[in-house]
Each structure stands twice: as structure tokens, then as C-alpha cells.
Amino acid sequence: MNRIDPRKTFETTLLELGKSNENILAVSCDSAKGAGMSSFINEFPDRYIEVGISEQNGVGICSGLSQVDFIPIIAVITPFLTMRAYEQIRTDIGYINANVKLVGSGGGLAYSTLGFTHEAIEDIAVMRTIPNMTILCPGDGYEVDQALRLAIEHEGPVYIRMPRHGLLPIRAAENRNIEIGKSETIVEGDDVLILATGTMVREAVDAAKELEASGIKAKVESFMTVKPIDMEKLVDLCKSYEHIFTVEEHSKTAGFGSSVAEILISEKDMGQVHILGVEEGSTRVGPYREILEVYGLTGEGIAKSIKEKLK
């Protein structure tokens, strides 16, 4: 099956949204092309705000622009946005509920050949602490398109964690129904529960197939929205399983799995949570798929971790 280039999807959708909503502005810190903003910029040069290599400044400018009813979309390589400009995002976007859309170009291990300065395994952790922030982690072409549309429809700050490498579809688009704050059941199964987000949903689907071959039926639940998390569904699901596995292309510290655990800890009769992800402070480098393998974040690796735990 063909993999979809997430950047191209983002680019097409952004252009389309730009045509129907003239309040949308593209804000760039010297990385428009890599972020998939070129078509928008060519079509609407007057709605392109270039701030140069100054991410903190860029986020502040977005906050200011939003106060006169523009909808700024700022796209920057993930650590330089979510971590470099963290306090600006917290104070000037989050607390004041500014209608700004933040796009992290290359979430997780996307830049695995470029080293730890460019990898982003802490972005969900830091964005999760910001009041009013909605966090969307699309995992296939359909979700990238939807995430951007939903972000524009939603009034308030949204962080979109963009994948960078070719994506296989999570499931057929006609069977999907995505809303902010709602999880989605992708695979049914009674033996174990896998909760996954973003790029890891498709890997979890592959893991479920592998597990089935060993007689283990896994349910896969997808959380494109990491915040606000679908609490009701989460609690309901976790009652029925003895073992719950969370999977994320992110540090095991303070990410999606932690947010699940934070909720379950105050509920009664929940299954046991196991967090799958990247060890804090890991700095292995190499080609993307190989790095996913190293961290056990491919379908095969996830299935292996699950089988070991269930032994």
C-alpha cells in the first residue's frame, strides 16, 4: 500500500482552508517549505508572516495577531516551538485562550537522523501542562487533514503534532468519524487493550494482527486527541481489561501514557497500565524505521512487549 506524505496532505488542506477563511495567516520562522506552507504562501503572499529564526518572537506575534481576530498558524520544528517558546505559549497563548494554532513539524522521532536537538519526545509532556490547550496527534493522512480542519473550527489554542514520514492509513476513511475529545475504536478484541496515539495507532493495528496469530485478541483504541482526553470512554474501557498498554512515539515520562495513568489512578477496579514509549533521555540516531525498531515501537516490537508482559 502507498504511504502518504503527511506534509503534502497538510499543504493541500491548508491551501483549501485558506481559500474559505481569510482570517487564516501562515506564520513561519524560516521553515515554510519543510512545514508544508509553500502553496498557501504562493496563493496568499499577503497572509504570510515571516519572522525569521526567532521562535519566541513568533509565538508572541501570533498571540498579538489573534487579538485582532486573525487565526495564525505557526509551524516550526517541534522542539524549537514547544520547548524554546514554552513560556510564551503558556502565558501569551494558553492562559489567555488565544486562538492560535501551533504546528510541531516532525513530532517524536521524525528527525531521527538529526540527533536529539531535533527529535521531540517531550512535546506532549510540556504541551499537556498548558491550560486551554488542545493536543491533536494525527497518525495518517486522513487524520492530518481532519486535525487541521478541526483545529481551525475550534476556538482556542490547538497544538498539532505533525508526523513527517510516509503514513499508511489506519483504516478506510469512509468508516471514520473524528471529533476533538473523542477516541475511536479501530480494532475489536477482548484479551488486552491497546491505547495508542498518532503514528503509533497504525503500529498498534499491526501489533494486534501479530497477537491474533498467537491467540491474543487485542482491542485498539485511537486517541488523536490527547488533550482533552476522552475520559468517559477511557474509564469505561479500562474496567473491562486486566492489562492496558499505552503506546506513543514519545518519552514514557509525562506523555500520553502518563495522562491515562493519572486518570485511572483515582478510579476503582481498573486494569494495570503499562506504558510503551521511549526511555527518557535516549539519544540513539539513525533511519526512522530502524529507530522505531530499536525502541520497540513497530507492530512487531509492540506485540513482543505485550506478549512478554502477559507471560
Binding site: N57, L114, V285, P287
Partner: protein, 283 residues
């Protein structure tokens, strides 16, 4: 101190070898920041081969001078330089872009001998240099701190915070370079965020500034050798350079910020290299 003909020839040959490492790494192992690395090659060659106090056998020697590649994406130039200096064997260049390579797309101090700071996030280098330089002064040590930044990188506010700190604290042990190639990613620096008044800005921040041709090893050598330009002031060398220098089709071309060569470009690049290299092969 005038540079002898032999020394000049030696430095130019080293710069050529470094260019070859950069270009071959991209040809053999794909995508690398070729344009950005090629514009600072001559500066690194002069610094590492003839200016900095270094101990190849003891890279963490207390007597050494420090170098911070603030624009960490230029790391292929640094790797090539460290190989030429003898920190690692040339075969290390063949691990580029491979699993667990010691030479990732940005330099990591825990992976490669001779790298002092892990850089790649722009705007970190000058604050790091300030801390080092201040620490060395507190310890009464005379080591120098060299730092190399990009011109687009001057957009980062952290650089200007550090620029003010450096002069306020009289850190004349800092010698900074700006690799002024006039390009960044989205366009020329003139179009993206104008940097034409860098000299005046740094002077207003209390620095002593000199402007040179960043590909003339003689001029680079003479200028760095005379730093600090003024006692009690940090020194800045604005090096006018050509992005992609030495790779004809990449020179001053926005599309070669990074480079994943196809066969045709690879062939041209190798031909051009061998033409330049004849100068030394006939020696």
C-alpha cells in the same frame, strides 16, 4: 605574523580535504547540510589546523581552546575538520546517516571525541561561549573560546542577550564568527530578516568587529591571530562567504541548504573536486 607560502598551501589543502569529506558523505550516505557546511570550511580549517591549542590525544585537556559550532547543522564541516586533525579516522565518515552513527545530523558531544557541546538548536552557541569564557576568567585561565554562528541565526534573541553579556563582562577571550553567506532557508537573509547592519549592531553592543573574506585563508589567519582586537572587548569576525562554496551548482543557491545528491550531481561534484585536487596530487 605573515603566513608563509607553505603554511598557506597546507591550510588550503586541509580545507580542500574537508570539502571532500562533506561532499562524499552526502554522495555516499544521502542528505546533509552541504551548502551550510561548505561556507564555513575555510574558517574551520584555519582554526583547527593552525590557531587553536588542541591535544588530539587528550581532547578534554584543560589547556585547550574551545570551539562551539553554534550553527550545529554545519556539522559535516566540523566532522571533516576533526578527522583531518586526527581526532578520528576517516572511515568514521562512512557511518553518516546510519544507525548509531557517532556523526549524526547535528554534533553530539557524547558521540564524537573533540566535540564540546551538542548543538543544532540555533541561538545556543553564544550564551554557551559566554559561560565558558566567564568561567575561564574566574579560574584565571587564558584559553580562548571560539564560536561560529550563521547569519540567519542572528534572528534568535538569545544571541543578543549573550552579546550584551559578553561586552558587559569584558569577555575578550571570546572570538566569534558569523558565517555571512546571505542565505537561510526561506530565502536571502535580506528578505527574511535583514542582517545587513550586523557590524553596527555588534559595535553598539560593545564588540570590536572586523569584516573579512571568509574563504581567504590568509585573511582569516591574520585576522584571528590578531584577536582580541581590543583588550577588554569581545571580538567578532564577520566572514563574507558563499553558501555551497566549491560545488559550482550549489554556490549561492537556496536549494542546497541541504543536499541529497542524485547520480548526475554526484558525478559533477566529483569531477570538480578532482580538478581542484590536481593542485596537490602533482606535488
Amino acid at each position: 605574523m605573515a603566513l608563509s607560502k607553505e603554511k598557506m598551501n597546507f591550510l588550503e589543502k586541509k580545507a580542500y580535504n574537508i570539502r571532500k569529506h562533506i561532499i562524499e558523505a552526502c554522495i555516499n550516505h544521502g542528505d546533509g547540510h552541504a551548502g551550510s557546511s561548505l561556507s564555513c570550511t575555510d574558517i574551520l580549517a584555519v582554526l583547527y589546523m593552525d590557531i587553536m591549542k588542541l591535544d588530539v590525544d587528550n581532547p578534554k585537556s584543560k589547556d585547550r581552546d574551545y570551539f562551539i559550532l553554534s550553527a550545529g547543522h554545519k556539522c559535516l564541516a566540523l566532522y571533516g575538520t576533526l578527522v583531518e586533525k586526527g581526532f578520528e579516522s576517516a572511515s568514521i565518515m562512512d557511518t553518516y546517516n546510519q544507525l548509531d552513527t557517532p556523526i549524526p545530523g547535528h554534533p553530539d558531544r557524547d558521540k564524537f571525541r573533540g566535540v564540546d557541546f551538542s548543538t543544532g538548536s540555533l541561538g545556543h552557541g553564544l550564551p554557551l561561549a559566554c559561560g565558558l569564557a566567564k568561567g575561564l576568567k574566574l579560574r584565571n585561565q587564558s584559553n580562548k573560546v571560539y564560536v561560529l554562528m550563521g547569519d540567519g541565526e542572528q534572528g534568535e534573541g538569545s544571541i543578543w542577550e549573550a552579546a550584551a553579556y559578553a561586552s558587559h563582562n569584558k569577555l575578550d577571550n571570546i572570538i566569534a564568527f558569523i558565517d555571512k553567506n546571505g542565505l537561510q532557508i526561506n530565502g536571502t537573509t535580506k528578505d527574511v530578516l535583514n542582517t545587513n547592519s550586523l557590524k553596527e549592531r555588534y559595535e553598539a553592543f560593545g564588540w570590536e568587529v572586523k569584516e573579512i573574506n571568509g574563504h581567504d585563508v590568509k585573511e582569516i589567519h591574520e585576522t584571528v591571530s590578531s584577536a582580541p582586537f581590543t583588550q577588554g572587548k569581545p571580538s567578532l569576525i564577520i566572514a563574507n562567504t558563499v553558501k555551497g562554496k566549491g560545488l559550482s551548482f550549489a554556490e549561492n543557491n537556496l536549494s542546497y541548504h541541504h543536499w541529497d545528491p542524485g547520480e548526475e550531481e554526484a558525478n559533477i561534484a566529483r569531477e570538480e573536486l578532482s580538478k581542484i585536487g590536481k593542485r596537490w596530487h602533482s606535488e
